[in-house]
Every structure is written in structure tokens, then in C-alpha cells.
């Protein structure tokens, strides 16, 4: 009774292949929601970009904002800090970048960086008045002793890269959008 039926092999195979392919496509479509649910949900994505009011930050002051759960350093730099950063020859840098590449044109006094050391992710010191600023008048990571300069570039210590710049833009002179 279990003998195979050999008539019309092509039409039968066509039906089997069609059904199999159809089921496979449906199965794949059903699997996607089961995977996608692990991606950031709508409430997390809603916080992907923030607006930060920087009108109250005086020259020489820094403020830390929270963006995507990470600290973002916003520093209103003094003229001497900018000058100092521009004076460094590129060949002295581990991760070469000019000061102009670290800021937005026309807003050179505003340095906006993710405040996590590129070595192992600690938060460097130097945001608050009186904190250790490191040997290069910028930021100093207390975990393993990385020194960043006034443009947030790595100058000494184990960190491989400059402090990361988040995507940001000026919505007005006093309002920036990060992310």
C-alpha cells in the first residue's frame, strides 16, 4: 500500500516544490518578528536623539548631558584652549585630527563629545571645576591614566583613540540636537 505513485512526476513535484517554497517563505516571515523583538523598542528609539539647551553654559564651563544612556560632554571652550589645541603638531598625536575636525565650523568654541574613555569605557574627569584635568588641560581618565587635551584628543596613556564625537547639529545658537 505504501508504494510510490510514479505517474505525472513533474506535476506532482511542482506542487510539492511550490508548497514547500510557500511554507518556507511564510516561516521566514514568521521568524522575523521573533528576532526583531530583541531590537531596541519604540520607547528606547524615542530617546535616540535629544535636544540640549546650551544657553546657560558660560565660557570655560562644561555640562554633561545624558544621551542614549551615555554621558555627553559639552564644553564652552575659552580662546586659549582653542589656541592650545590648534598649536599641537599633528605628528605628535596618536590619533591625528585637527582641532577644526573636532568641532563644527562657526561654532569652534563648542566641543561636544561622548564622555567615555576609548580605552575601557570609564568616564574621564575634568568636567567639574577643580577636577583633575590631566597633563594636557583637557580630561583625565582615573581608571588607567589616559590624558586628553582641550580638543578631547588622546595624548598619553593606554587609550587608543580620541574621545568620540556624537552626531550633532545646531538648531539655533543656544540649542543643539545630539543624535
Amino acid at each position: 500500500m505504501a508504494t510510490e505513485i510514479k505517474e505525472e512526476p513533474t506535476r506532482r513535484d511542482f506542487l510539492y516544490v511550490t508548497t514547500g517554497a510557500f511554507a518556507a517563505v511564510g516561516g521566514a516571515a514568521a521568524v522575523w518578528p521573533l528576532i526583531d523583538q530583541m531590537n531596541p523598542d519604540a520607547s528606547v528609539k524615542a530617546l535616540a536623539s535629544i535636544e540640549a539647551d546650551i544657553s546657560a553654559i558660560e565660557v570655560g564651563q562644561s555640562v554633561t548631558f545624558k544621551w542614549r544612556g551615555k554621558p555627553v560632554f559639552v564644553r564652552h571652550r575659552t580662546a586659549s584652549e582653542i589656541e592650545e589645541a590648534n598649536a599641537v603638531p599633528l605628528e605628535d598625536l596618536r590619533d591625528p585630527a585637527t582641532d577644526a575636525e573636532r568641532v563644527l565650523a562657526g561654532h569652534e568654541e563648542w566641543l561636544v563629545m561622548v564622555g567615555l574613555c576609548t580605552h575601557l569605557g570609564c568616564v574621564p574627569l575634568g568636567q567639574k571645576p577643580g577636577e583633575e584635568k590631566g597633563e594636557y588641560n583637557g580630561w583625565f581618565c582615573p581608571c588607567h591614566g589616559s590624558h586628553y587635551d582641550s580638543a578631547g584628543r588622546i595624548r598619553k596613556g593606554p587609550a587608543p583613540k580620541n574621545l568620540v564625537l556624537p552626531p550633532f547639529e545646531f538648531l539655533s545658537d543656544t540649542l543643539i540636537k545630539i543624535g
Partner: protein, 415 residues
């Protein structure tokens, strides 16, 4: 059983593997060759539907656990968060909730099929008892799962059901506090119910493995109730029954999808969208529909019997209504398996089905007036069917002549 194995390793690697762990041989014998009676009808496909439903519930459940928070302050909001914010969360959560109902719908068909065709009779008693164990585990799992969203019905359902244990004399109260970990249902209760709700499905899966093992020893029954006599009576499981089962699974998914996508809340109770409040009991406490018949039997006992209080009596009846299923193989002494050949059995059977549906209806009605009387009648028939009808029919009934074999029955049918 497959008898002589048809599995022949085709190359050295397979041979090497087969000598150490004959997994492919086992799969070939039990998933592909397993001979099943060729005359089994569509009511037999629900075993496969149930296996698929268990997998669906476990997968969606694991996903929900990634987003759910078992804490009384956060549980309700975390379920709303899943529905509103998690990618496809509304659908995954709906699938799990509706899935519980579909699972029970399928299990009831599976069980009533067994009751009609005498699937519990020798040599399948253990197979049947394992099935009842699975049913009990399913009810426990569903109950604890219903507590997790921490709505009003969750809370009061948990309170009422755990309080059943206080009916037990002397040790009832200590058992209650042990179960709920406090003076009332509270955060410790929610936490342990979450843990157990996650654990139990895997225990169900293990018992299902035993259930299938016990099935593969005598093989499938069939609508005639006549045992397989020769290989002419059977077909290999694959492709005949795999494709038949898959077809039914796909069809089963259509009403399933209907509820998930178009009415995901309709099988639940509106009160469960109100966050749990230990100071306000909802006007009507009703369990989910699939527990209603047993709930009706619990409430039907509102009188004391000698030293047994109404409360204890109700609990005994409710648990007894399921435990009694385990001993049916010894209550129904009829030599004929299939109800199709038992003229007197049939009306009693269908009355039992209608009675079960009536109890389901009564479980959702307020415990007053005519409903109480009907519940008592229904409970009496439920037990009477097993304790009186089946044993007596076995003695007095003259069954119709059985076909000599499955093949003969098929020939007769196709004449």
C-alpha cells in the same frame, strides 16, 4: 514499533555516528517509518496540533519573559509596555494569550476523541494517564500564567484558587502560606508563579515525550478500535500522516490568527485591564473559559455531607473530576473500544459532551437560582457517566459486529 529497522547508513560518517548515537536511526523509525492505521480520521490529527501549540507557547513565552517584569509594582505596566513599545509585541503577546485558549481547545478535542474511541483501553492505559497528567500540568501552567499580567482577575483568581487549599483540614492554612509566601497573594506569589510558569512547560514537554513513547509501543488506535493485524492495515507516518497533520495545523492556525489579529482581547476578561487591587473584588470572578466546567463543579457543592464541609466537598469534587479520568480504563469494562460500535454508549456519550458544555456555560453564570440546580445536575451526570454509565453499559450492552480487520473495514466503507 518499527520492527526491523529500515535505516541504512549511506556513508562512513553516518555509520560512525550511528554506532555511537543512533539518533538518525531513531528519528527514521519514529518520525518517518512509525506505522499507523490507514483509517484514522481527522480527529487523530490533534495530537500534532497540540505538539505545535506547545512549541508556539514556549517560544512566545520565552520572548515575553525577555520584556516582562515579575514585580507587583511593574508587572501590569510591563505587559502594557510589551503591547505598546516592543517590536511586534502586541502580536507576540496576543499569540501567547490567545494561544493558551487554542491549546485548551485542541486538548479538549483530543480528550473527547479518546473518550469516544476508547483510546484509554488496554494496552494504552499509561498513555492515557500520562495525558491526564499533561492536562493537569497545563491547567496549573495556564493558571499561573494568567496571574502574571497582575490585573484584577489575575489577583483574585490567584486568591480564590490558592484559598482552595485551606479546605484541607489542619494543614490547609500552612499549605496556603507556603504556596503564596505571605498572608495574602503578593509580590512573593507573583515571583514564584513567574518562575514556575517558566518551568512547567518544560516539564510538560518531558511528559509529552513519555506520552509519545507510550504511544509508540502499541501504536495508534483507530476509529474501528480493531488492532492492527498486518502491515496492510498501516501506512508509514511519513509522508502520509506528517502531511495530513501539517494540513490540519495550517487550518487550525486560521481561527488562531483570526483571534490574534482581529480580536486578541475577546477571549479574556475586561477586568484584567484594571490593575490588581487587594481591596476591591470584581463583581463577578470568572476563570478563563477552559476552566469553567471544573469551576462550575466546585461551586455546585454548597452543602455539607456528614463531616465534609461544603468547601472541602467542592474542592474534592473539582480535583476528583480530573483524577477520575485516570481510572476510566478500569471503570469502562466494555471489550469494544470504539463508540461507533456501541449503540447504547453513543447517546450517553453525546449527553456527556453536551453536559460538559453546559457546565462550561454555568461556570460563567452567577451562583444563584436555576444555575445552581443545573450545576448540581451537571456535576452528578459528569460523575455518573464514569461511575455508573460506563461500568453498567459494559455489562448490558450488545455491541455491533466488529470488522475482522482495518483493511476489511476500509473495503466495506469504500464499497
Amino acid at each position: 514499533m518499527a520492527g526491523n529497522s529500515s535505516y541504512n547508513p549511506t556513508n562512513k560518517v553516518e555509520k560512525w555516528f550511528d554506532e555511537r548515537l543512533p539518533l538518525l536511526r531513531f528519528s527514521k523509525e519514529h518520525l518517518m517509518d512509525f506505522p499507523s492505521p490507514k483509517n484514522i480520521n481527522y480527529w487523530w490529527t490533534f495530537g500534532a496540533v497540540l505538539a505545535v501549540m506547545l512549541v508556539v507557547q514556549i517560544i512566545t513565552g520565552i520572548i515575553l519573559a525577555m520584556h516582562y517584569t515579575p514585580n507587583i509594582a511593574l508587572a501590569f505596566d510591563s505587559v502594557e509596555h510589551i503591547r505598546r513599545n516592543v517590536n511586534y509585541g502586541r502580536i507576540i503577546q496576543g499569540t501567547h494569550a490567545v494561544g493558551a485558549s487554542m491549546f485548551f481547545f485542541a486538548v479538549y478535542i483530543h480528550m473527547f476523541r479518546g473518550l469516544y474511541y476508547g483510546s484509554y483501553k488496554a494496552p494504552r492505559e499509561i498513555l492515557w494517564i500520562l495525558g491526564v497528567v499533561i492536562f493537569l500540568l497545563m491547567m496549573a501552567t495556564a493558571f499561573m500564567g494568567y496571574v502574571l499580567p497582575w490585573g484584577q482577575m489575575s489577583f483574585w483568581g490567584a486568591t480564590v484558587i490558592t484559598n482552595l487549599f485551606t479546605a484541607i483540614p489542619v494543614v490547609g492554612e500552612p499549605i496556603l502560606s507556603l504556596l503564596i509566601g505571605g498572608f495574602v497573594v503578593d509580590n512573593p506569589t507573583l515571583n514564584r508563579f513567574f518562575s514556575l510558569h517558566y518551568l512547567l512547560p518544560f516539564i510538560i514537554a518531558a511528559v509529552v515525550a513519555l506520552h509519545i513513547w507510550a504511544l509508540h509501543v502499541p501504536g495508534n488506535g483507530n476509529p474501528t478500535g480493531v488492532e492492527v493485524k498486518s502491515s496492510a492495515d498501516t501506512l508509514p507516518f511519513h509522508p502520509y500522516f506528517t502531511m495530513k497533520d501539517l494540513f490540519v495545523v495550517v487550518v487550525f492556525f486560521i481561527p488562531f490568527a483570526w483571534f490574534v489579529f482581529f480580536a486578541p482581547d475577546i477571549l479574556g476578561h475586561a477586568d484584567n485591564y484594571i490593575e490588581a487591587n487587594p481591596f476591591v473584588t470584581p463583581a463577578h470572578i470568572v476563570p478563563e473559559w477552559y476552566l469553567l466546567p471544573f469551576y462550575a463543579m466546585l461551586r455546585a457543592i454548597d452543602f455539607d455531607v456528614f463531616f465534609i464541609s461544603a468547601k472541602l466537598g467542592g474542592v474534592i469534587i473539582m480535583f476528583g473530576s480530573i483524577i477520575i479520568l485516570m481510572v476510566i480504563p478500569w471503570l469502562d469494562g466494555s471489550k469494544v473500544r470504539s463508540g461507533s460500535f456501541r449503540p447504547m454508549f453513543k447517546p450517553f456519550y453525546w449527553l456527556f459532551v453536551v453536559n460538559f458544555m453546559m457546565l462550561m456555560y454555568l461556570g460563567a453564570q452567577p451562583a444563584e437560582g436555576i444555575y445552581v440546580i443545573l450545576s448540581k445536575v451537571g456535576t452528578a451526570y459528569y460523575f455518573g457517566y464514569f461511575l455508573l454509565v460506563l461500568p453498567i453499559l459494559a455489562r448490558i450492552e450488545t455491541p455491533k459486529p466488529l470488522p475482522s480487520s482495518i483493511s476489511q473495514a476500509v473495503l466495506d466503507k469504500n464499497k
